[in-house]
């Protein structure tokens, strides 16, 4: 039957009775509408939160579909260290996940680890070769920032050399994070994959100027900034490997070993004397790791002292729980005031109780000592883990620094031509300073740290940023237009509206509360005996189940709901050669007939359809 308008020339042309000879397709009811639906993917809170710039919702859908290799490649576009992140990232994605209110955040962290661990090709994805012929770039530091930068450059065809001060590559991943959190094999494999792109890592090459600062790792002072003049660009990613001092009497005593130093020795397999009653001072991951290593090294009693309350503790929640599970006692609202020694050896730590006062410049409530509350804790080893600082002694006057960090702009560029910086050395926690903080956004010359700053994921993001900037620079392009330092840089971005989808925009009719899948874990009794990995990850069934809980906020995942409820049958599934997936418009509206009723937009479980004024489109 015809779909066109029918005109009868005469009665003889017409049927004898009122009988149809055509369809209503002639009637373009699209002329009725004054608003029209538009498919528009928006930003889910997880993507918004990820400092490494991963497209989480995209790869989770691939896990749902069982396309693990595709998911891995998708992550690797943005981040080469997925096995690492799947274990050590503090997962701000989970903190913002909209599913938190429907049975618990998606275990994105564990899912990333699952994807990383799937059998399959270990190749890193190719990129378009944009490197000018023979271009060489130097990277200083083989931590996550340096590795990320080297990867993004090498896949574009650059010849990259990483200079690493320590005897082994990995930076904090190697020396700061113990193997029960990050197995050596995982780290080694991911570094090896980057090296397989042609990246050279030269260990034992420490960038510096005489004299070196006390407490910094030993190594040959073989490299100076001037030595890198032959490279077309330099990326400084030296991290923060210096420990902050306790600042109390007695801290020079034997038996006081800074946390970073302690962990470095343990992780490099160097001999370290462990006490029997150990006090760890601090509330970050370093403090947790130091405590747990002490337990594994044989300490009988390990106590963590933290000057604020549990609520303010910067360490990852699960880590705190695992630490306590291993028998470590945490004392809150207490700070050491003196290391007590006898015959030059540590015998006790004098402490004072604290109370919380007004928030400080970082936003956390300042601890105030309670006078007369001193008490003594008998210990034979003290491990301060109060924070990290960068060793910037190698800098010359041409490179600006402020509050203990290298100053960079949105492109990661320092004040010196062709020198970039990233990772903790540029975006870690800044040193406390007499200079009042500037409130400007943008370059991190002061003020609060960007969200996620100081984490592995942030470092990876910053390395990627600098790599893209270096690529532009060496191709004679402008460095304008980079997203601000708090925003993410993507290599392969979908066309997505920057609006972040809040929980209120999720259509709860389509979801019920389902509990989050817990990750398997070795028992405390078992795990304190060795340095084997504590968390066991997901099985395939658990991973699929967990990924299926993802609401796919703001991202069409072809649930068919719009198609199902259109009263005018004008939503079609597209016949596309491209494989379907979030971000690929799998449906199209037939605007010839769409009346703009808005049922699709109302029902879309995940806010992926907007209603817009028709006149805007009709111009």
């Amino acid at each position: 039957m015809t779909s066109h308008i029918i005109v009868f020339q005469s009665a003889a042309d017409m049927p004898s009775l009122p009988m149809s000879v055509g369809t209503t397709l002639y009637n373009k009811t699209g002329s009725w509408r004054y608003v029209r639906p538009v498919y528009r993917d928006k930003t889910p809170p997880c993507n918004h939160a990820c400092p490494a710039g991963e497209d989480i919702v995209d790869y989770l859908q691939m896990v749902v579909d069982g396309n693990y290799e595709q998911a891995r490649q998708r992550i690797l576009e943005e981040n080469p260290l997925i096995g690492v992140c799947g274990r050590v990232c503090p997962h701000p994605c989970e903190s913002d996940c909209n599913r938190t209110q429907l049975g618990g955040a998606i275990a994105i962290h564990a899912l990333e680890r699952f994807v990383a661990g799937q059998p399959g090709a270990r190749r890193l994805p190719q990129a378009e070769k944009t490197a000018p012929a023979g271009a060489q770039v130097a990277v200083v530091g083989s931590g996550p920032a340096g590795l990320s930068c080297a990867y993004q450059l090498a896949r574009r065809g650059y010849k990259v050399t990483i200079f690493e001060a320590l005897p082994a590559a990995g930076g904090m991943l190697r020396v700061g994070i113990p193997s029960y959190r990050l197995p050596r094999e995982v780290l080694d494999a991911e570094i090896a994959a980057i090296q397989a792109l042609g990246v050279e890592i030269r260990t034992g090459m420490r960038l510096g100027q005489n004299p070196v600062r006390a407490g910094s790792p030993p190594g040959r002072d073989g490299l100076r900034l001037e030595d890198l003049a032959g490279y077309r660009a330099v990326f400084l990613a030296v991290g923060q490997h210096l420990s902050r001092r306790l600042g109390i009497p007695g801290e020079e005593a034997q038996g006081v070993l800074p946390g970073l130093e302690f962990l470095r020795r343990v992780n490099l397999g160097e001999p370290v004397q462990i006490g029997s009653r150990v006090a760890v001072v601090g509330g970050g991951n370093t403090a947790m790791d130091a405590a747990r290593c002490a337990v594994r090294q044989g300490a009988r009693q390990v106590t963590i002292l933290y000057r604020r309350s549990r609520h303010e503790m910067p360490a990852i929640d699960e880590e705190i729980e695992e630490t306590e599970g291993e028998g470590v006692k945490v004392q809150y609202l207490t700070a050491p005031v003196e290391v007590v020694t006898t015959v030059g050896k540590v015998t006790a730590l004098k402490c004072m109780r604290m109370k919380l006062g007004e928030p400080d410049e970082g936003g956390r409530r300042k601890p105030e000592p309670i006078h007369g509350s001193e008490y003594s804790l008998p210990v034979d080893m003290v491990i301060p883990a109060l924070g990290q600082e960068a060793d910037l002694s190698f800098l010359d006057s041409q490179i600006d620094s402020a509050r203990g960090l290298i100053v960079i702009d949105a492109a990661g560029a320092t004040s010196r031509q062709s020198v970039f910086a990233g990772g903790d050395a540029a975006t870690g926690r800044s040193a406390p300073s007499a200079v009042p903080p500037r409130r400007a956004a943008g370059p991190n010359g002061g003020g609060r740290p960007e969200r996620g700053a100081g984490t592995v994921a942030y470092a990876i993001g910053s390395g990627k940023r600098a790599a893209l900037a270096i690529d532009r620079l060496l191709n004679g392009q402008s460095l304008e237009g980079f997203p601000a330092l708090g925003e993410h840089v993507h290599v392969a971005a979908r066309d997505v509206d920057p609006r972040v989808v809040p929980f209120e925009d999720i259509n709860l009719a389509y979801f019920s509360s389902e509990p989050r899948t817990p990750q398997g874990q070795r028992t405390a009794a078992e795990r304190v005996k060795d340095f084997q990995e504590v968390n066991l990850g997901f099985s395939e069934r658990e991973a699929r189940r967990e990924a299926e809980r993802c609401l796919s906020c703001g991202t069409c995942n072809q649930c068919d709901t719009c198609w199902l409820y259109c009263p005018d049958v004008c939503i079609r599934r597209r016949d596309h050669a491209a494989p379907p997936g979030p971000g690929h418009t799998a449906y199209e509206f037939d605007y010839d007939y769409c009346k703009g009723c808005g049922v699709c937009a109302q029902e879309c479980p995940r806010e992926a359809i907007d209603m817009e004024e028709e006149l805007k489109w009709r111009r």
């Binding site: 149809s20 397709l25 002639y26 009637n27 019920s512 068919d560 005018d568 109302q602």
Partner: protein
Amino acid sequence: MSYDIPDKELMSPGHVACPGCGAPLAVRYALKALGDNTVLIVVASCWSIIAGPFPYTAVQVPLLHTLFATGGSTASGVKAGLEARGLKDTQVLTLAGDGGTFDIGIQALSAAVERNEDFIYMCYDNEAYMNTGIQRSSATPWGAWTTTTPVKHPKDQPKKDMVAIMAAHRIPYTATATVAYPEDLVRKVKKAASIRGSKFLHVLSPCPSGWKSEPAQSVLLSRLAVETCVFPLYEIEHGEDYTITVQPRQKVPVTEYMKLQGRFAHLKPEALAQIQENVDREWDKLVAKTGNHCGH
């Protein structure tokens, strides 16, 4: 595909339902369930117009328009004619509004199902004579505004319990359904199609024009009707065995449903409380009839 719904469309766009109307959704799902070996009889109602004027049609099955009071009788004749031609498996689906079912058409419907004629009768209920401009029917809920039950004198009588009337005829299958639950509707239509004899489906079909609601919210309203227990989804076999087919996840207060509809805007708190009480009582009675058994 995420929903257990047949893929093939037997209804085209270009039909002239109001934007957001529930009626084309009801027919779209019913035709998907039945397939193209179906004859659709449309009793005078909105669908007489929705289907498109001569010489066009909006569905890919034969469609017979018929007089207001003749839903049950025309279907009886059509079925007899098709069977006489040997087309014993062709489904006959009569589609009527609440007017053509509860009021002017009730006689012919009662007679047809008393004879246990082999057809499916689907009433799409928008709770008033909508095609002629929102006049009250016996399906209009208590308290609702319509043009013949204006705000100063809203509908004084409760909604007629058509399902009970049909069940009292002891027909093989009676069920309620609504457009927010297409899988449930499709399953029920398919089940009806598998039974010889009279099958009655009462489908709540939101009407933005007559309910004074947002077109975009028709599916939402249909869902709320179920979740508030205003319109429970259940089926009755042989007039005796009751099964609730969609259990509300949690019982939502009726005000959540009614506040989205202008036709209830004039109701005072006492009236709303009365309505809540009525709904609760009727729900409890229904649950008791099921022997507290919920299927599917």
